[in-house]
Symmetry: C2
DNA sequence: CGTTTCCATGGAAACGATTCCACGACTACA
DNA sequence: TGTAGTCGTGGAATCGTTTCCATGGAAACG
């Protein structure tokens, strides 16, 4: 850890630190001779400016923070990738934090990002407006919410309109004759969990399908709860003939347990997932999904954050979602899955259809 | 962006900045009265220490950098997750960078991490020992290589012994009657690309299988090159009856194109991938993989980095790999894939076997 | 040739924290 | 009661950089 400072560079170039600093930061008020000397000295010593000292003096760091709720969720991995690329293109580096769907980790990272004086933060928030997320807005640190929002916090956001896609999915299932759709929901403490659940509830009512509350299982957006959800739903006296999972990890958990139970997706039970993940199309049968553009989301989030940093107050953006029909949901219903529970006489194509 | 400094806290508490600093950093040489006063003042003002200023004075930042080559590769997403959790448990925050398999982005992030004076860096390096990666070791910045190494750089590393797993895979395919195995390799500029290719070459020779150089396609560890590889291999006059992909994104690309060509994995052509990704087991047929533990890799990398930071020189670790046989490779060969190319009389179970 | 303007330069203050050092007050021991 | 040791405290130096301000020399003007 040998420390090479601007003082060393200045000494080698035979100028003062002030001049060296001016050259290194590209100030016009420098002579060609000084420019050449300092540049040569810096190169020779492999000088790297101390970002701490620089930030201490000049109050901006050319860096932004990105806090996602789960890096292992491919949706957020993709988001991290696009945000990072967009930020890099604008000259910012991205510090990525992973809240792991836990509020205390979110607070921990938020504190760190505040301490490190990032110029702005893109966050997929969880929890309510308490804790460090409140400090963020009280200190007027440029912030943009992505994918999720927090009630009562007036922060620009980029989110998805889940309504359209979910309505399309329910319509599609209803048209295939399904009347009992099992819904594996996200937690109601998270805005996307609430929105998607509300959209599902409205759609089910609109198409006259069963509103049996037992058909909804509340998971936590992680894989294990998808498995638990399928398990719970299939144990019902009147199990659903179609399943809708509110995010991709829960869909993965659902698929795993369906395989284990020997149920054929697309024939014994239809399945649709929210979030389009590249390899969902590679499954057999290919998985129907509700798709929304993670590239747009990341790109727009960065653009909005830069506006906020620049003093603007951009309007929030809502991106569309749409159903992509593949084999996992396209066969007409073939009856009740072979659940160990009693086969209910009320299932199958129902008179309540439409 | 209102700035609350330790000066404000000290003033409110009615003590000097020195005393405030001592209380806030938990020095024992403080009176209970001072402790209480300063703590109250800090809480009331919602004081967050300026990490820049702190680091400037005390030369360590309680943060590490993690530079992965591709966040969208689930292997590295998992790695990021474990590294971050392990670091957090040790009191460090992780700054994640994504090189995107591009050397100039790797250099860019490395420079940033050096500038920000992270206490140490875990990196999955790409390229040779030139560029910023050399500055890293010349400055004696604590560094640990993970997954990959760089020739000629004496840096502690955690890697996988690809040899065992690949040998098992080739043996398994040979036992099923395959004599022509197509290999979708990683780039030879990356250590894992070289190691796995070398292991494949040795295994193929050992088991007396075809060493036809056309059976090797050199990809870039990303999905598109997996597709291109399958395409090229199946166009051979004597196409392979089994495929081995050197990482998971290329396996995904391979599967996509096999589907598109209407080839049945596990029957028309066997497929094995390096890297065990959770959902590979969910494919139909389930994908045989060469598995290695990403959790161990991340955990050990952090442990080693902390040792280096503490002044130690830990031994490099090589983790084992093993074949996990699933349906994609377990059927005996059924002959030549229905390639649009002419069916060669020499393919199928061959006299050259063993 | 004298005065003004311009401009590159160096000295020094500032950013916000930590930490060395000195000081005063107190306890404890002889 | 005098001296030594302990302990909490404040002043000031320090980290590496940027930036304000003053300075001095050269160019430009009349």
């Amino acid at each position: 850890m040998v420390a090479i400072t601007i003082k060393d560079v200045a000494a080698l170039a035979g100028v003062s630190v002030a001049t060296a600093s001016r050259v290194l930061s590209g100030s016009p008020a420098t002579s060609p001779a000084a420019r050449a000397g300092v540049a040569a000295a810096a190169a020779q010593l492999d000088y790297r400016p101390n970002a701490q000292a620089r930030a201490l003096r000049s109050t901006h760091t050319e860096s932004i923070g990105l806090l996602v709720s789960d890096v292992r969720n491919p949706f957020f991995a993709d988001l991290a990738h696009t945000v990072e690329q967009a930020a890099l293109a604008a000259g910012y580096v991205t510090l990525l934090g992973n809240a792991n769907e836990r509020k205390e980790q979110q607070d921990r990272y938020l504190d760190t990002l505040i301490s490190r004086r990032v110029d702005g933060i893109v966050v997929a928030p969880l929890g309510d407006g308490s804790g460090s997320i409140r400090s963020l807005i009280e200190r007027k640190i440029p912030t943009v919410f992505v994918d999720r929002t927090v009630d009562g916090l007036d922060v620009p956001s980029v989110t998805t309109d889940s309504e359209t896609g979910i309505r399309q999915a329910v319509a599609h299932l209803a048209a295939a004759g399904h009347t009992r759709i099992g819904y594996i929901s996200g937690p109601q403490a998270i805005s996307t969990g609430r929105d998607r659940f509300a959209a599902f509830t409205r759609a089910v009512a609109e198409f006259g399908l069963s509103q049996d509350p037992d058909l909804v299982y509340f998971g936590d957006f992680q894989a294990a709860s998808g498995s638990a959800g399928v398990h719970a739903l299939l144990e019902l006296r009147q199990p659903p003939t179609a399943l809708l999972a509110a995010d991709s990890p829960m869909a993965v958990g659902a698929i795993a347990i369906l395989h284990k139970r020997g149920l054929r997706i697309g024939r014994d039970v239809a399945l649709i997932a929210f979030d389009d993940i590249e390899w969902f199309a590679l499954l057999d049968p290919a998985l129907s999904v509700i798709s929304h553009s993670v590239e747009d989301m990341g790109r727009i989030a960065v653009k909005m954050l830069l506006e906020v940093i620049g003093g603007g107050t951009p309007e929030s953006v809502v991106l569309p979602s749409e159903l992509i029909i593949r084999a996992s949901s396209s066969a007409p219903i073939s009856g009740v899955p072979d659940s160990p529970a009693a086969v209910s006489p009320a299932s199958g194509p129902s008179p309540r259809k439409n």
